[in-house]
Symmetry: C2
Subunit: 253 residues, 2 copies
Amino acid sequence: MRPLLFITNDDGISAKGIRSLIEVAQTFGDVLVIAPDKPQSGMGHAITVNQILRLEKSILFPDLEAYTCSGTPVDCVKLGIYEVMRRKPDLILSGINHGLNSASNVLYSGTMSAAVEGAMENIPSIGFSLDSFDSNADFSTAKDAIKMVLEYALKNTFPDHVCLNVNIPNVHKEALRGIKVCRQAHAFWEDRFDKRLDQFGKPYYWLTGEFKNEDHAEDTDLFALKEGFVSIVPTQFDLTAYKALENFKKLEQ
Amino acid sequence: MRPLLFITNDDGISAKGIRSLIEVAQTFGDVLVIAPDKPQSGMGHAITVNQILRLEKSILFPDLEAYTCSGTPVDCVKLGIYEVMRRKPDLILSGINHGLNSASNVLYSGTMSAAVEGAMENIPSIGFSLDSFDSNADFSTAKDAIKMVLEYALKNTFPDHVCLNVNIPNVHKEALRGIKVCRQAHAFWEDRFDKRLDQFGKPYYWLTGEFKNEDHAEDTDLFALKEGFVSIVPTQFDLTAYKALENFKKLEQ
């Protein structure tokens, strides 16, 4: 039996990124797609609990089973596993995201939250992101990198409840220096709100800001990307601050 | 100067939980509130990037500065820090959530994501949740527990980029056995979708399921809660699976 690869994303089913991921994945096995029916960037690990979910057959990929979902990327994974797929997928793939999900962006990322949800189900899962927000970005370097990662992923076992966060620099194939396995850089957004007035003179806000990196260590994803490598961060979801457990013991008295 | 306590939640500004949290917080300092204008349960670390945000003065708490926000709990924190507050708050408080955010629920929780966002800003932050979904739940035990935690938090330093996930059992004061500092239990939802047909015969889905705990270790939040303790999990946001870094080194070749 050919491997079953489940694919979702957060840019929505009509994005070029998911089409590129599907093209690579189809060379490895059977592909089933459930992707948001609209952009869901920045949705993090959101799930739809107070609203209904719709699931519709998509006509965009006539040669495979594909659906749109009215919910978030994590909803897509849950629907795939518990409602649509008749067998457990061999891999859950998410992306290719238009824009990096390196450093602390992993927390805001719908793309990576879909992979983390896969890890919660203990299914090998991988999120892919390219360093370009262009809706018509060139995904050829990304596709080469993904091919390498999928070859590895289908031949090797993932540790329990660990997924991969793969970020790909926006460079030509010849300029790509290889792959680095890294930790998540300790870097953050310095937010700013763009305050404007609507047609009635009432204020509204756009979230904007600048990404600041003060973590220049060579074992980080941001360093690898800057040096022209694909960064791969093995990712888990236990948020316990183990080193801080002792600090708070005083609270027990 | 009195301490400044910033308060948000994910159940929305009109919930009983946030009102109870405000009542306790006001005994410790000045309170500023920005809370979602509607329920935002399950929103995780979602932010609003493709839509505008609205911020409106709320009339619900006439004796303090309070706003509703059209976005997510994390949006509320970002607006508070970067747009509304004239000084850095001493504490960011989120909740009291109607329903527990123990174990892996921390990832889906808007309440806790607000606290994690505070930790990213390196401001001491705490999410509070009560084990009751009742909209008119009895928060008196929770208020006592929160008083203890706030006394601690205003007198002690938090480790950098660490926040607290405080879950409170739904018991009478006399039955509360104390506080336990714990790790996040390794326990998950077994999801199920309730498939129904709308008035046109088209299917729609409700996300439902059962929470399964197979992690019965005594150092977990779920164990503490079951034993009648308040559970406190020091929480951080580096998702790197450090133990798995070596596993994937083969990918570098």
